[in-house]
Symmetry: C2
């Protein structure tokens, strides 16, 4: 839509091959680390959880803010981190801003932890 800042593109690299696969390049590891860094905070995990599990797929910031004993700027900061990691995306509708998860991102992370068939012949 309008001018949603592109921010950082963490979408291409190191998203598909499992950790048990071919060697991660330095750059791939760095990009991946950014995503996990975004997930490495309890508040952000709960935010992502709330957004991912809300009925309708969208959560209003106004609702998220009330769920924590933190100031609005702090919640806003965490949402920005999640957004920059490509895990969520936001949209303003009138007075309020709504966030939803980027399913593709989560699915790809899932594949990262896939293990090769244990016990080969």
């Amino acid at each position: 839509m309008s001018k949603m800042p592109k921010l950082e593109d963490v979408t291409d690299p190191a998203c598909c091959a499992p950790l048990s696969g071919p060697a991660l390049s330095e750059a791939e590891a760095a990009e991946l680390a950014k995503v996990f860094k975004a997930l490495s905070d309890p508040v952000r995990l709960r935010l992502l959880n709330m957004i991912a599990s809300v009925d309708g797929g969208e959560a209003c910031v106004c609702d998220l803010t009330g769920a924590f004993e933190l100031t609005a700027p702090t919640i806003s900061h965490h949402l920005k981190v999640l957004r920059q990691a490509g895990l969520i995306e936001g949209e303003r509708r009138g007075t309020w801003v709504y966030y939803r998860v980027v399913p593709d991102r989560l699915t790809r992370l899932s594949g990262l932890f896939a293990l090769p068939a244990l016990v080969p012949a």
Copy 2:
């Protein structure tokens, strides 16, 4: 007191339910965050990658250290973080120490990012 954590017991909580599932408790989110924090460093990701993909399932620290332009204490520190997160475990055999992944841990993380069947209204 059956749930008394020894050092850092990150094994029980928040391991199975997907992020899109029921609300994460504060404690669950905190424990999960520890695991992701362990994964939020490029060096640790590459270490885990190397350990997970090495033939035989075990990697000698002596080999891991040589793969980075970092001092041995730094590598040792990163391995400790991964170990405390429950992602790897080490064993000393004679002069050398070998690390291997904890498959259960990785598999569970995979499930975290599973999404419910997309509901097209």
